[in-house]
Each structure stands twice: as C-alpha cells, then as structure tokens.
Symmetry: C2
Subunit: 225 residues, 2 copies
C-alpha cells in the first residue's frame, strides 16, 4: 500500500525554476520574431538571440510537451500558446496594486502588463489622504477593503509597492484577505506561510549586480529572473 507520496511525484516532472525563468524569455523572443514577420523558428534561432544553446531550448520546451516538428522547427503561434499555457498566462490575471508611492503610480500606467495578460483591477493605500482620490481612473481604496475586493474581483495576485517598514504588516493583511502571490518591491525579506508565493524585485540589488559586472569587466547581457 503506497504511503503518502512526495508532492513532486504528483505532477509528474516539476519544471526546474531555471527552466521556467527561460520560458518567459522565449515568449518575449517569439513576440519579436513574430513582429519581424516570421511564422516559424528553430531552437537554434531562439538560442542565438538569448545566448543559450539550442539543446537547452529544446530540452526546456520538452518539459511541457512536444511542440516542434523535426526538420521544420516550431510554429511560433503554437509555441506561444503552449508556453502561455505552461506559465498559466493563457488567461487574464487581475492584479491588486498596493501602495501608491512613486513606483506604485508608475506601475498603474505601465502599459506592458496589459500586453501580457495582466490588468491592475484595484489600487489600495493606507494613507487616508489618498483613499478616495482617483489616480489614473482608479479610485484608491483603503487596505481594509481588500478582503471584499479579493472576492468580488477574483484577485489572487498583488504588486506591493509600500514603504519597507510597513511591508510585512501589509503582507499579512494581503494573505489574510486571500491573496496567494505577491510581487514585492520593498527591499526586505518577507515572511509568509509556505503556500504563499512571493517574488521580490529589489532595484538597488540589480544596480549592485550591474556594478559587479562592470567592475569585473565580465560584460554581456543577463536577465534578472
């Protein structure tokens, strides 16, 4: 009688983090090829622009199924659909934007999100002077309104652009409101239950990493992922 199994065994092969990271890069590159008028690509073409090996591109894609045609390559629109499905971005994701500082206001107006299946559906801030005001067509709501908004708008994901010193408190409220994933811009290590997903983007860290590359003359293009 088989006992409890490790979670990993349940969904067959779980893709390594590095592979998933590259999936997004492939998707962007496919858009570029498509914009250039191509309808098919080879693993080699994709690999070249991204400075990878063709074998790696094929192996990454093979994690999720067979999308290519031997001797031919990949049909761009089919492959895009397959990658979007693998990532979960084959549907529209409504986003809660929390924290209306400089970065928060910039994100409200950031056009790229919409182009990739995201839509800021509601914005929140705890500053009473901001609550009730309208920023780029959004009426700013108190964070207390979050549990209700999560339900009515079907929110699972939040972008967090609050000051560092209140970030953990706000995260706790997000989680208890039903948010399951947080894109965190506050430069602090957040603590969440293990089933909650957090990705932290720290812009100072990116500059630091760039300084390291420049200082050590180890040039080249890399992707924060």
């Amino acid at each position: 009688m088989p006992n409890e199994r490790k979670k990993k065994a349940m969904d067959r092969k779980l893709a390594p983090r590095a592979v998933v990271g590259r999936l997004s890069l492939y998707l962007r590159q496919l858009e570029a090829f498509q914009a250039a008028g191509q309808s098919r690509v080879s693993s080699n073409q994709i690999a070249e622009v991204l400075q990878l090996r063709d074998a790696q591109v094929r192996k990454d894609l093979a994690f999720f199924g067979q999308f290519g045609h031997p001797g031919i390559g990949y049909q761009i629109d089919d492959l895009q659909a397959a990658i979007r499905k693998a990532l979960g971005t084959d549907r529209l994701w409504p986003i809660a934007l929390v924290g209306l500082g400089n970065l928060g206001r910039a994100l409200i107006r950031y056009r790229e999100f919409e182009r990739h299946g995201f839509r800021i559906a509601a914005v929140f801030d705890n500053d009473p002077r901001k609550v009730g005001t309208v920023v780029s067509d959004y009426e700013v709501q108190s964070i207390d309104a979050l549990p209700e908004a999560v339900k009515t708008l079907g929110l699972s994901i939040a972008a967090l652009t609050v000051p560092s010193d209140v970030a953990q408190d706000v995260v706790n409220k997000l989680v208890s409101s039903g948010i399951r994933g947080i894109l965190n811009f506050a430069p602090v290590a957040l603590r969440v239950q293990p089933e909650i997903s957090v990705i932290s983007v720290d812009l100072s860290i990116q500059l630091e990493q760039l300084v390291y590359k420049v200082t050590h003359a180890s040039g080249g293009v890399s992707y924060s992922n």
Copy 2:
C-alpha cells in the same frame, strides 16, 4: 613557454554568478540584523532568514576572503565592508537616468538608491518637450549631451527607461558615449559588444513567474536576481 591563458585564470577564482547574486541578499540582511541591534551574526542566522544552508553562506563568503571568527561568527560591520568591497559598491556610483516616462520619474524619486551607494547624477530624454524642463531638481538633457556628461560626471552606468522601440538605438548611443553598464527596463533583448554589461529587468516577466508559482502552488519566497 606559457601561451595565452584563459581570462578566468588571471583573477584567480572568479565568483559564480549565483554567489554574487546572494552577496547582495546577505548585505540587505546584515542591514536588518544591524537595525535590530545585533553586532555579530552566524552563517546559520543569515541562512535561516534567506532560506539557505549555513554551509552555502560560508562558502559564498569564503570566495572573497576570511571574514569570520570560528566559534564566534561574523562581525556585521566588517562583513558589510567586505561584501561592499567585493561587489564594488564601497564607493558612490553616479548613474545616468535615460528616459523620463512613468518608470523613469519614479526612479528619480526612489530613495533606496542613495541608501546603497548610488546617485542619479543626470537625467536624459529625447523628447524635445521634456528637454530643458526640471524634474525633481534635475534639468532634463538631450541624449546628445551624454558624451560630455559621461566625461564631466564620471558616469559608467545608466538606468534605461525608454520605450522598447527606441531602446536599442539609445543603447548604441549610451555605449558610444562611454557607458559600460546598463540596467535595462525595456522588455527587449539588447545587443551590445561583449565588454558592455547589461542587466534587464522585465516586470511583466516577474509577474509571469509569479503566476507560475501561484498556479503550481509551489509557494515560498524567491528573489529576482
């Protein structure tokens, strides 16, 4: 007679990219410990908050020297100084901000940069309506003014927040002006000579990665690096 040697051999052990990425995380965490009143830490304490193993923390640090004291741990301020030195952030780096859209304006006002040894020293935009205006105490300059500014201000690094369709053109100008490192926010794959460093931060990609984590219930905290 020894022939040409591989570059790697020249500077002894070149730290792997993953190690350098964690260095920044250690630095942030040391700040947090210090703010909490500690003056010493163990590799175990650092590892715990960042969800790593103590051996990894020690091994990472050992790439750059011996900073710890057996039986004692690490002196926080010494370790901070050592990491900053390793990263190259033990001095102030003036930054060129190029592109005054929403994101560019948010970055101008982003306080964290200054806290970590960066200072936006000049801002540039190609829109004639913006050139000459003053944004947050900075007079917006034409990109044509870049070569001169690079010299007089000692700029090596630029943050690039221009629209995707002009990003490559602007990059070419940055490089020919003497810029050696670019933090790119345009969601396109840039082409540069191998001695130029580029780190690309694509916010839509970060959201995509978050969706993947949420969808596959593989929670936990991760750092974009």
